[in-house]
Amino acid sequence: MVRFENVGLRYGMGAEVLRDISFQIEPRSFQFLTGPSGAGKTTLLRLVLLSLKPTRGFIKLFGREASTLDKDAVTALRRRIGVVFQDFRLLDHLTTYENVALPLRVQGRDEASYRSEVVELLRWVGLGERMHVLPPVLSGGEKQRAAIARALIVRPELLLADEPTGNVDPTLARRLLRLFVELHKTGTAVVIATHDLTLMEQFDGARRLVLGEGHLHIYD
């Protein structure tokens, strides 16, 4: 599904922030991407999402080499990936419902065709009563769940979540993890970037990708 080989990244003329990164993400797999703050977890996720270009190395996504893709192809691949951003990135002028429905709307689908699905997903993540509300009114946990719902609505083959429990209390963090685990069981490959050791201990079956000093260490 995702394959990195000797990928390196530097910003400008600075030192490499990621060096010789090689790993694969298999379909239906579950992995934590961890490491200290500033280790490059978000940067690595952005490389997977093709919003950054590596300075060297080889990236293959869904069987296609990233360096050969044009913009439309990148867009098509992104539609197969769900992303939960650390800072949620909800659009403040749209309601929770509209934010969650956004990935379907940008595909040009008719609103009536996905309405019930979005409403059902909002219920699933516990935002059934908050679908009319604008994001500034939502609590941190609610924003987090709305961001997760937006990532899930396209039924992604791969879910990338950047510190999805960074803004919530431990109880809600456990619930959110459970949500990701249930999603994984339905066949979605999940990558959760986190430095929350407690969270990782709750799901022993997950692979751990540990970033440190620019290098990636894999613990299966």
Binding site: L49, S51, K71, D72, T75, A76, R78, R79, V83, F85, R89, L91, H93, L94, T95, Y97, E98, A101, L102, P103, R105, V106, Q107, G108, E111, R115, S116, E117, V119, E120, L121, R123, W124, V125, G126, G128, E129, M131, H132, R150, V154, R155, R174, R175, R178, L179, E182, L183, T186
Partner: protein, 328 residues
């Protein structure tokens, strides 16, 4: 994954039965398909203001051009309809006989609809504004004037008329106001040219202002563009959203600016009508006409407002596409 699967998953999640997750009420109707680019932002309001001002200035300059053009046509029509025969006193000739002969020539000419002969008294009165009243001008060799109007539907053969006058009244000369008309036409052309230049300058300034305002608005919406990219929006989709957004702003600004310009011309026409038949009003009307634009003028202003809105949409679309290409 279908919606029923979401339901199945939901039942397996903690809190799903406690009411903390779930327990929905859907009394409120869903807001759907709201514009993806927020309409009421500071940058948006600034752009509407810029467009409104520019539309107003463009419409005023275009309206002024229409007025000047109409007024100059009126002047030329008026001047070209009249011609003057001047009979100068000459030693050894009876001026009254020459005047009568010249008037007869004018009356007999095809295309002349009316002839008015200025008597000696009338001619002396014409000099009063310069020489004052109470003077005996009887001893002065004052030329005599014959003014005649041309028939609008029939042409006057000026050359034949000149020859006939020379033959029957040698001291008479014909002034067909060609010099005046040339000057008037030249002045009107200059005025219309100036107005067109001002109009084009205003349009250029508006294009630049819209471009800068669009860039400013884009900078304020970069987060929205990023999110749209990450959720799988194509550039054409994003550009279409921005085009709609800026077209709406352009239409709003154009309507405000064009409406204000129409109001100004409407009020000017009303004021001119109120002041008609007063000395000042007559003077203004003689120079600028009735200030009435007519349907064509208002249609031009309406077209300018719509054109500016479309221009705004096109300029912004091009800028948005360039911006999106830069992001890749």
């Amino acid at each position: 994954m279908t919606s029923s699967r979401w339901s199945q998953l939901r039942s397996r999640l903690p809190g799903s039965t406690s009411g903390e997750i779930g327990g929905e009420k859907f009394a409120e109707p869903l807001k759907r398909n709201m514009p993806l680019i927020p309409a009421d932002t500071i940058a948006g309001r600034a752009l509407v203001t810029v467009i409104a001002i520019m539309t107003f200035l463009a419409a005023i300059s275009a309206g002024a051009g229409v007025l000047v053009n109409d007024a100059s046509r009126g002047w030329m029509d008026l001047v070209s309809r009249e011609m003057t025969i001047q009979v100068k006193p000459r030693a050894g000739r009876d001026i009254e006989a020459d005047v009568a002969a010249a008037a007869n020539v004018a009356r007999a000419t095809t295309g002349v609809s009316s002839v008015r002969v200025f008597s000696k008294g009338d001619s002396e009165k014409l000099l009063e504004p310069w020489l004052g009243t109470g003077l005996d001008l009887g001893e002065l060799p004052i030329p005599r004037l014959i003014v005649f109007e041309r028939d609008a539907n029939r042409a006057v053969d000026i050359s034949a008329l000149r020859d006939e006058l020379l033959r029957k009244s040698p001291s008479a000369s014909l002034d067909d106001h060609t010099l005046w008309m040339e000057r008037l036409a030249s002045m009107a052309r200059t005025l219309v040219f100036i107005v067109i230049v001002i109009f084009l300058l205003v349009l250029t300034a508006m294009g630049l202002a819209v471009a800068f305002a669009t860039r400013g608005a884009m900078a304020g919406t970069s987060e929205i563009v990023n999110v749209l990219h990450f959720v799988g929006a194509e550039d054409s989709f994003i550009a279409a959203q921005f085009k709609q957004h800026f077209l709406r702003l352009g239409l709003r600004g154009g309507a405000i600016g064009g409406g204000a310009a129409m109001l100004v011309f409407g009020l000017s026409a009303t004021l001119a009508a109120w002041r008609a038949h007063t000395p000042a009003g007559d003077q203004i009307e003689a120079l600028f006409g009735t200030f009435s634009l007519g349907l064509l003028g208002y249609a031009v202003i309406g077209a300018i407002a719509v054109g500016i809105a479309v221009l705004t949409g096109l300029v912004s679309r091009s800028i948005v596409f360039r911006h999106l290409r830069g992001l890749s």
